[in-house]
Amino acid sequence: MDIFIQQVISGLATGGIYASLALALVMIYQATDVVNFAQGELAMFATYICWTFLNAGFPYWVAFLSTLAIAFVGGVVIERVLIRPVENAPILTIVMVTLGLLVICNSVAGWIWTYVQKPFPSPFPERPFRAGNIVLGAHDIGEIQVTLLVLLCIYLFFRFTPLGLAMRAAAHNPVSSRLVGIRVGWMLALGWGLAAVFGAVAGMMVAPVLTLEPNLMGGVQIYAFAAATLGGFTSPGGAVLGGFIVGVVENLVGTYVHFIGTELKFTVALAMIIVVLLVRPTGLFGSTIVKRV
């Protein structure tokens, strides 16, 4: 039982990371109908920027917040410079642009920072929490808190601020949004900026566990895809819940199903994607999209 609880909580910790990245994917998907395949690589790149700040001697949270600011600006600039010109192009063209971005981010990171793995610090204390026989890593607990805080902020932003309302409107109904005077293009750019911020949080939280290297987010992105598919690409809340479910399932299966162990954990995510797409393509909370043709 103790092992079970321990595995669930550490599953929630990694699940929070999948949730952040899944939320980033879903936000961009909702606004532009495009899956940003480079989301994970942008997160990795942001994590390297944070590493650079830390190496230069900045305190952790200063580096953390500066990285978020840079990630936000970076996301906005990428939308304006790379995505805007192909906005009205066929979906495949935009997908190719994000795939290109993925490759570029990965290679440039390797070129600047090399492919050697780098240790990345955790801002949380070393000493684990103990409650009876249950031992919980401090980083796991901290990670869950950071994720929940980010989710709370973004919920409040979209639910209660005029700008958040305008961004939701622009994503759902761009034509009507223009007619009430919303600059839809800028709302999409802000969406990319926010998505880059979620990605950066995920990257900086997962790097202490996986150690930093240019392929840091490759696996995480697959899990985030599984999370978004499970929760529904049209439902931000669903994607977040999907992230936590994927994290927990991944951990439990790895612990209790012996032939899977740690080596085949990855397969579980892919299997989940396939099962969801076969059984319920819209995901748990997604809505069926009706398109007029």
Binding site: H172, R178, V180
Partner: protein, 236 residues
């Protein structure tokens, strides 16, 4: 006094297809003008041209300010509110959120509570439904919401695209009664309608559009007595 809206030699294009072939008309301040015409005559396109949602040549001036080079968002800021064809409801958002969005392009910020009171005064049903998702409203209620959302801008010119479409006669009469009240508060209205009888009753000036051209214009009580108009659009 110069015209509120002055349109000259307006041509509009969807891809290579020309939808308007040199439309010219002008609109006086404070009035209700209606554009009549059959399906495909270019009524909706004319409104879309004013809101800069379609490529055009020719000139459009609003209070002597040229609109041709402006973006839709900037036209809104000048005080032109457009309740579009199909009502343009934000179906996922609540009625109240729809109304809040209507005030987004307003130049003066400030409190919205007066505006809420005003539009709820016109359309009390929207007050009852303010926390409801707008997609769950009936067609008539969504049309009221479209007008109310446009009013949140505190517009000087209201563009209305077929507010009667698909609604029960009783609801339509109610909406048109309120449009008159709104006009009396100083909002000029440019109305596009297929229901000629209703439009002629409400409007003081009429333009008749046929295949992208203005073929007739005049005060509505004159045109109402015109035999050709009566036969073609009023059916008696």
């Amino acid at each position: 006094m110069s015209a509120l809206l002055e349109v000259q030699q307006l041509e509009a294009f969807y891809g290579r297809t020309k939808a308007l072939h040199g439309v010219s008309f002008s609109m006086a301040r404070g009035g209700i003008t209606t554009i009549l015409g059959a399906n495909g005559a270019g009524k909706t396109t004319t409104l879309r041209a004013i809101s800069r949602m379609v490529r055009t040549t020719g000139s459009i001036r609003f209070e002597d300010e040229p609109l041709e080079r402006k973006a839709t968002e900037d036209v809104v800021q000048l005080g032109i509110a457009h309740a579009p064809e199909g009502r343009g409801t934000f179906v996922h958002l609540t009625v109240e959120e729809n109304l809040r969005l209507g005030a987004w392009g307003r130049r003066e910020r400030g409190s919205m509570s007066d505006d809420f009171e005003r539009v709820f005064g016109y359309f009390p049903v929207l007050r009852e439904r303010r926390r409801q998702a707008a997609g769950t409203l009936s067609g008539g209620e969504q049309q009221m919401l479209a007008v109310a959302r446009a009013l949140m801008l505190r517009p000087r010119l209201l563009l209305l695209d077929e507010p009667s479409l698909g609604l029960a006669p009783l609801v339509v009469r109610e909406i048109f009664r309120i449009l008159r009240t709104i006009n009396q508060t100083g909002v000029s209205i440019l109305l596009v309608e297929q229901n000629a009888a209703l439009a002629l009753d409400l409007a003081d000036h009429v333009f008749l559009l046929e295949t992208g051209r203005v073929v007739m214009e005049g005060p509505s009580d004159v045109l109402r007595r015109d035999d050709a108009i009566r036969r073609a659009y009023l059916g008696y």
